[in-house]
Amino acid sequence: MSDLKITRRSAFEGLHPIQVEGSVTVAPTPYATRFSFRGDAKAASACSKGFGVLLPNDLLKAESDQGRTAISLGPDEWLLIAPDGEVESLEAAIAKALGDQHQSLVDISHRNTAFTVSGLKAETLLASGCLLDLHISAFPVGMATRTIYSKADIILWRTAPDTFHVELWRSFVPFVWGLLEEAAHEV
């Protein structure tokens, strides 16, 4: 029998840090548990009980509590984020809360990864590839949406006036990181 040893490698391994003193910092976030949840409003409210955070009904909103976050991406789609290593326990808790309701809960912990962009020039740096109006009046704290950075799909969530959380597929990391690195020279 072959002796397989599986080790988890960060998508950010070997990448240069992006930091412009006093202006902007891009930093990978720790591993996390992530789920894609699909269901109607009734299923979402049941899922909230199992997950421990209210799944927002309003579109493009993020709700956070005690390290867990629920982001409404579309009329029947939510992204759930929790600390690393909670896949089994959360799956069980959510399944119990939902009973036999029609829904879909998919573990995407290893497909997605994330980094934060923070600092006075966070908006400017993201605007290098993001087409949305990122001014605080148009994209307030607590707003989150799927959008694009250059050609890559990202989920952008503003966690503070000068901090953004960016979720993306791990295979897009070298592409997005490279563009951010270039853009950081000019902010």
């Binding site: 579309g74 694009i148 799909d153």
Partner: protein, 100 residues
């Protein structure tokens, strides 16, 4: 850049969207009893108008939902968007609402 009003997310840049052909084309309820001509028309024949066209779009890099859109194929102006599943709008009313 063209801004497209997604019925769920509001105005968004066009690069977040994908076009998905003419809207309100119902699949024949009983495909095995349709004639070749009827089936070909369902599959391939489209109205291709010069002027108002009702079409499907998908906000793929946003809420990812399909929705329907009334667009003028001459000016590329989008007059109305509405969620998938809603009935086909009266084009005269759409024109009036858009002030044309």
């Amino acid at each position: 850049m063209l801004l497209i009003p997604c019925p769920h997310c509001g105005e968004r840049p066009e690069l977040e969207f994908r076009y998905a052909g003419e809207a309100h084309i119902a699949r024949p309820a009983d495909p095995s009893s349709t004639s070749d001509q009827e089936w070909a028309e369902y599959l391939y024949f489209r109205s291709n108008p010069k002027g108002l066209h009702i079409e499907r779009w998908r906000h793929v890099s946003g809420c990812a939902r399909f929705f329907n859109c009334v667009r003028d194929t001459v000016s590329d102006k989008i007059l109305k968007t509405y969620p998938a599943g809603q009935p086909k709008p009266d084009l005269a009313v759409v024109l009036k609402e858009a002030g044309q």
